[in-house]
């Protein structure tokens, strides 16, 4: 009793390869998903043309969240950009702080202290876990499993508590400054972090039982939303989206930054490249991050400077130069392209958020022939955050 689509209704292709969709024919319907969609994909929308309950064409629309950060930064001093960058990605802001700080340091000829590098790595892994937790809840929710989000939000909140005691804030941490980090670990942090990690492991076991060993979830995710490995290069697919297709791309390994070369881990990969595999890769990536945090806390130096000597930040000028700094965030390769012209302001900041490629071009390709009810699950499975599309 399987579903057999009726292809007789499907639009024909025109000579240039585009579909011949005659909206007046009554065969097609325009359907907007978003921008006020309760799913985790946030403030972007997809303009769907459906035939029956099947998507024949999808166009992505972004811009609902445009705040012009890159432009704003051109009118702010280097230190004044520091509190702005985190806003470019709400659920995992720390990558912006790190990439921006590293870019400024490189162009200014500053070396951040070793201890600061360890703390930066710790923060980035904590942020990665949080980002995945948000994803897992969203992915399950898109297929109707509401309870998973409650569990992952709970452990994410525990990690936010750790963020709060380490950085002084829960969401926008504003802790990784050009030059180093603001402060060291608070008293008793290791113990509380270990408790949080244990609680997280316990919750992940529950999540595995209820989400990944679940006929409903499997029915809707296995074999659905496949990213053809051949597309990876063409679309610039990175991160778990690429790793689930069997390509072990991971900037942490490929071009180690901070202290990743001193840590023992292997990139998580999968083979089937469908929604289920991508979710599973991310779930296992959380376990890697938990292990990394334990390694970091065991190995990190506990004394030493936290900030390199920086010039007076009020009139910090950086010589002419340009650089691209990249790192592996939970969604793939995150990069900052920074151009300086010798003044006290960045000449150009360009943020390479992985969501840009995943959520716009790739999604338009993948969404064709997908059932309307699977669109939300597919969008979530690419793990995209609209703010980093619209810097």
């Amino acid at each position: 009793m399987s579903y057999v689509p009726d292809r007789s209704q499907y639009p024909a292709k025109k000579a240039d390869g585009t579909l011949d969709i005659d909206l007046t024919s009554g065969k097609y319907l325009k359907l907007w998903q978003g921008p006020n969609h309760p799913g985790i994909t946030g403030n972007m929308s997809v303009e769907l043309t459906v035939c029956g309950d099947e998507v024949v064409e999808g166009k992505t629309h972004v811009g609902y969240l445009h705040r012009g950060f890159e432009k704003l930064m051109e009118r702010r001093t280097f230190i004044q950009c520091f509190p702005i960058v985190c806003r470019i990605c709400v659920p995992e802001p720390d990558f912006n702080e790190y990439c921006y700080a590293a870019a400024v340091e490189e162009l200014a000829g500053i070396q951040s202290p070793v201890r600061a590098d360890w703390i930066r790595t710790l923060i980035l892994e904590m942020g990665r876990i949080n980002s995945y937790m948000m994803y897992l809840g969203g992915q399950a929710g898109a297929f109707g499993l509401g309870v998973i989000a409650q569990w992952t939000t709970y452990v994410r909140d525990l990690m936010l508590d750790r963020f709060e005691e380490l950085t002084g804030a829960r969401i926008y941490h504003m802790f990784i400054m050009p030059g180093g980090v603001r402060d060291g670990l608070p008293e008793g942090f290791d113990q509380r972090m270990e408790e949080t990690l244990c609680e997280m492991e316990r919750t992940l076991k529950d999540v595995y039982e209820v989400m990944f060993c679940n006929a409903v979830f499997k029915k809707r995710s296995v074999g659905v939303g496949v990213i053809d490995p051949a597309w990876l290069e063409a679309y610039g697919v990175t991160g778990p989206n690429a790793r689930a297709a069997g390509v072990a791309k991971d900037v942490r390994k490929d071009q180690p930054y901070l202290v990743y070369s001193e840590l023992d881990f292997a990139p998580v990969t999968g083979q089937d490249s469908d929604i289920y595999t991508r979710a599973d890769v991310r779930r296992r990536d959380v376990l890697v991050s938990i292990d990394l945090i334990r390694q970091i806390l065991a190995k990190m130096p506990r004394s030493g400077p936290l900030m390199a000597k920086v010039p007076n930040v009020l009139h910090w000028k950086i010589p002419r130069g340009e650089t691209y700094i990249r790192g592996e965030c939970s969604r793939g390769e995150y990069g900052y392209y920074l151009v300086t012209d010798g003044s006290g302001y960045p000449r150009r900041v360009n943020v390479r958020g992985p969501s840009y490629t995943h959520a716009m071009a790739l999604l338009e390709r993948m969404i064709v022939n997908v059932n309307i009810s699977d669109v939300a699950g597919l969008m979530v499975s690419l793990h995209t955050y609209p703010p980093e599309i619209e810097r």
Partner: protein, 598 residues
């Protein structure tokens, strides 16, 4: 997909038997000790420098006057008002706060129906978290502005005692840039500087390497910039925002650095050409900082200015009082030459009252301005002080500048704890070193060492050069044997002032010492030699405790006669410069008004 996938989801039901994890009372949840909550400001510590306002990228901070806080030296009287509709809690304001007064509480939630309540001045508008100890405070060692002053290279004691060569080398361009980098441009120094120099702007010029701009800024307010760059009392540095948690910016040395980097031609370009001649003639008596500043301003405004100087060269006390190792004479010459270049006619070796009378000046000029300075040393009037070998410091310093041999004593005792005392002690030390090969100078002062009026570095350097400095010693008698001075008898000072705060030293007579010396030098203050006024004019003028009484513009009770500088105000170069500007402006306004009335 198997049976497990059908049954496993039901394990979620085990949560029915777990305690809920949600927080029951989120409003009263305690935030982490480092939490960046609402601001606190210790207004007693805050100096209103506005660095927080400068760094705030949201424009959330406005520096505003506060009724309960008065503006004073080193405190703008403004306090940061924070708009929490704009604040993003990044805490950069806390990180750059120059005094550490601004902190953040860990107040986690605040519910209020009035939106205007979220814009307030921390510490002034009372909030329940004002006394909260937890919250974000700048971590120790977390500095976003430089706190340590660039070391000024200078000669070591053994080297400098051998000559009158300048001690301080001055900053190199790189050193000056690093020092200038520390400035936060708050401008508290501008208010403190008597002549209100554009300090943050010329420091910026140093940072930018734009010395032409720098020297133009210097000459807007101070034609004695080369001199002040070396010997200014730098009151600005006492109110520098950086001094609260580090060393003040070396403002004086940065001024000197600009002057060291420019040529006289660049200076003349910077100050521009004088205005068209007005036909008015001004006579100025005394070519010191006050008189020459007034001359510079008036000449630039087109008046014909003639300065009469009794001594052989212009500069006043900067030349005849300050020793060459602190202020080389060519620096004075350079500053004076610039003043001459705007058309000021300086006539030296002309003593008013002897070579020309004051009446003659009055009859040939529209205005006569007196800038006589304080050239007479005060006397201790202790027994024996009428001996020929009991000398005044100002007289000796004048003779030293002129190159006259006043008979360098083998041993000397200096009375006084101010900069003049240090100057003569160190001058004698150099002369003794040259003549006898060893330094035998004792300096005695009424004050305790910590309360000396001299600059701390002067005291330190004098000590390094071999001057024996004795504090809390009151001079009682100059010891004379066989008609020759042999030393000074002092008692230990118990208190300098009486209970009413009047000057009335009390001594411990049991602690008596005799300091050997074939010369005793008095350096306990100066006064004006106003004898050139003559009896009649002296009688006509109004006097205030030995000083000529003048109005706010420097005019005496005689409408044609004005007075400026040390003879009416306190003794330091930059105050004299400020006074010169003020009086020149007043004279100029007066001359123009008279012109218009005609």
């Amino acid at each position: 997909m198997g049976v497990r996938d059908l049954l496993s989801p039901f394990t979620a039901w085990k949560n029915l038997f777990r305690d809920p994890v949600s927080i029951r009372d989120p409003l009263n949840r305690a935030a982490a000790p480092r939490y960046r909550g609402f601001h606190q400001n210790d207004n007693a510590k805050c100096i209103g420098c506005g660095t927080c306002e400068t760094i705030c990228q949201n424009g959330a901070i406005d520096m505003l006057p506060v009724a309960s806080i008065a503006t004073k030296q080193g405190d703008s009287g403004l306090r940061p008002r924070i708009d929490y509709g704009r604040c993003c809690w990044c805490a950069l304001c806390v990180d750059v706060c120059m005094t550490g007064s601004l902190t953040m509480s860990n107040a986690y939630t605040w519910v209020e129906s009035d939106p205007d309540a979220f814009r307030f001045t921390p510490g002034i508008d009372k909030k329940h978290w004002d006394d909260e100890e937890l919250g974000y405070h700048r971590p120790a060692g977390h500095q976003l502005t430089g706190r340590v002053r660039m070391h000024m290279p200078e000669m070591e004691a053994e080297e400098r005692i051998g000559s009158f060569a300048e001690i301080v080398n001055g900053y190199s361009v790189d050193q000056a840039k690093l020092e200038a980098d520390r400035c936060v441009s708050c401008g508290l120094c501008i208010a403190t500087c008597p002549t209100h120099m554009a300090i943050p702007d010329y420091i910026k010029a140093v940072r930018d390497g734009d010395y032409a701009r720098g020297v133009a800024l210097l000459y807007e307010t101070n034609p004695f910039s080369g001199i002040c760059g070396r010997v200014c009392t730098h009151k600005c540095e006492t109110t520098c925002a950086a001094r609260h948690e580090g060393d003040p910016i070396a403002i004086r040395w940065l001024k000197r650095h600009i002057m060291d980097q420019v040529t006289p031609g660049q200076i003349r370009t910077a100050i521009g050409k004088p205005s068209a001649p007005t036909g008015k003639k001004v006579a100025i008596v005394g070519a010191g900082p006050a008189g020459l500043t007034a001359a510079f301003d008036l000449a630039k405004q087109g008046h014909a200015v003639t300065v009469f100087e009794a001594l052989a060269q212009p500069g006043g006390m900067t030349r005849w009082g300050i020793p060459e190792y602190r202020l080389p004479y060519d620096i004075i010459d350079q500053d004076v030459d610039i003043i001459r270049s705007v058309g000021v006619d300086i006539r030296c070796n002309v003593r008013i009252g002897k070579d020309i009378t004051l009446d003659e000046l009055r009859s040939t000029h529209d205005v006569v301005l007196l800038g006589l300075g304080l050239q007479l040393g005060r006397a201790t009037r202790i027994p024996g002080s009428d001996h020929a070998d009991v000398r005044k410091a100002v007289d000796l310093l004048r003779q030293a500048t002129a190159g006259e041999d006043f008979g360098t004593p083998r041993t000397a005792v200096v009375i006084g704890g101010g900069n003049v005392a240090m100057d003569i002690a160190r001058t004698l030390a150099r002369l003794q070193k040259a003549v006898y090969g060893e330094v035998r100078v004792t300096l005695t002062a009424l004050e305790e060492r910590a309360r000396f009026l001299a600059d701390p570095e002067e005291i330190k350097e004098a000590g390094e050069e071999g001057v024996v400095i004795l504090d809390a010693r009151g001079p009682q008698q100059v010891m004379v044997e066989n008609g020759k001075v042999t030393g000074l008898k002092t008692w230990r000072v118990k208190a300098i002032f009486d209970e009413q705060g009047r000057f009335a030293p009390s001594y411990d007579e049991s602690d008596e010492q005799i300091h050997a010396g074939s010369m005793v030098v008095e350096a306990i203050g100066q006064m004006t030699d106003a004898s050139l006024l003559g009896d009649e004019l002296t009688e006509l003028l109004t006097w205030n405790r030995g000083r000529i009484q003048v109005d706010a513009g420097g005019r005496t009770s005689e409408s044609w006669l004005w007075a400026v500088g040390d003879m009416v105000h306190g003794p330091d170069v930059v105050t004299a410069v400020a006074d010169g500007h003020r009086v020149a402006a007043s004279i100029h306004a007066n001359l123009i008004v008279t012109e218009q009335r005609k």
